[in-house]
Symmetry: C2
């Protein structure tokens, strides 16, 4: 991913990490072809035009692919242990999430969220998966604050892990959420997700949401509770599973 | 997970790892309630009946839940790097796979597959996810051998990563596979997957399948090629994504 504008004839000095990758990992030399891209200009063919001990220049030649934005898919997730949080950021990036918002829920064991660290992981995953843009990663806020002023036309799909309180009754119906594909295939006024608008996904911490949080979530008209099957999933598994099914049913996996 | 038969009144000595978990992690003492389960007898309430420095006995009281088998969902996967292979085994277990078969494809960088190590990971993941049975893990065989004598009524869904050869033509149709949900919703004679029979999933190595392998796979009537969207997924991400969508559309996630 290149910060500079990409256009035919442009001469660009690769930043140190890219230069090392191209020179040492890909072992390219002057005259070799390399692909470069960014979110604005898409993907271009370039050729190594200069090489020093620590740096490398490329000359941009021809556009290979128009810029394409990731779908308007947003992930709200409760930070978990460091390794699992890293995995969430990496996999959400691969699965095409545009924005990641860490949210602090009542059962979140709030380890500090290091934004710069997560941004580096997202950037690396974006390059590996050949996305043209890395997802934005926001500052952590409380769940209540994240929902404040929510656009009611934007569905918020949340994985409603059936915990010990699953047999309780919320608003007259059994607590257990309906299967995810049933929910995605059903109409959901006032939201219009099948129309291709933006969608948000919320995955809680290992211990799930508290009864109070579940009651609050279910009181909002834009919230769609879904079940991810009969087994207990780790938070990072629930993230990948929910994003995959949503991309398959509503997102850019429909195009094949 | 307990090897012994579970029945009301049975007195069982926990094996060392379980005893340590119950005594040190859960901090349970004599008289406290603990849940025990296995694949034959389901889940039972038990009570700690004796505790020594290294061991622990429980007395089984009452059945909480009938035994339920994982769905007949099988994963064929090309072993990748150790950490990624470990993740594949852990996540496939959480997602309800009954059998894991490492297969060696032409582009598999065959690191040795340590069955005992993978079995330990599967067993731990099964306990954590509250499955009653750990998946079976088979010896690694070549892809060709794995497909030899295949039951044509059993669909084999394979993630057909569009590589550089995606624009090539196989058997008269464009190489690119159709979106996964389109494929799962379409009829597939001679297989009858929607009827709830067994299903297998095949995920290749990082470099994908060779043109020769793709041609072979697509020549079998039971093979269903699917696309997992426009981005390049790592092997472990493709495993989790494919299993999630299949469980949501055909598997035990339909029950909510």
């Amino acid at each position: 991913m290149i910060e500079e504008d990409l256009a035919a004839g442009a001469e660009i000095a690769l930043e140190e990490g890219h230069a090392r990758h191209v020179g040492t990992v890909l072992r390219l030399d002057v005259g070799d072809v390399v692909r470069v891209f960014n979110a604005r200009d898409g993907e271009w063919r370039a050729r190594v035009s200069g090489k020093t001990k620590r740096g490398m220049n490329v000359r941009v030649e021809e556009q290979l692919c128009e810029a394409r934005a990731a779908p308007d898919l947003e992930l709200l997730f409760a930070p978990v242990k460091r390794q699992a949080t890293d995995l969430i950021v990496e996999k959400a990036t691969e699965l095409g999430v545009r924005r990641l918002r860490p949210v602090i829920t009542q059962r979140t064991i709030a380890e500090t969220v290091r934004l710069d660290r997560l941004q580096a992981i997202a950037r690396e995953a974006a390059e590996q998966t050949e996305r043209f843009d890395a997802p934005e990663i926001c500052e952590a806020v409380s769940l209540v604050r994240a929902l404040d002023g929510w656009d009611v036309a934007r569905p918020l799909i949340y994985a409603d892990e059936a915990g010990d309180d699953a047999s309780a009754t919320w608003g007259g119906e059994r607590g257990r959420a309906r299967p995810i594909l049933d929910q995605l295939n059903a109409p959901h006024p006032p939201t219009s997700p099948q129309g291709g608008g933006g969608v948000s996904v919320l995955i809680g911490p290992e211990g799930g949401f508290t009864p109070e949080e579940r009651r609050m979530l279910r009181s909002f008209p834009y919230v769609i509770p879904v079940s991810l099957g009969p087994r207990i999933l780790r938070a990072e598994t629930a993230v990948i599973a929910a994003l995959s099914v949503i991309q398959a049913a509503w997102g850019d996996w429909r195009k094949g």
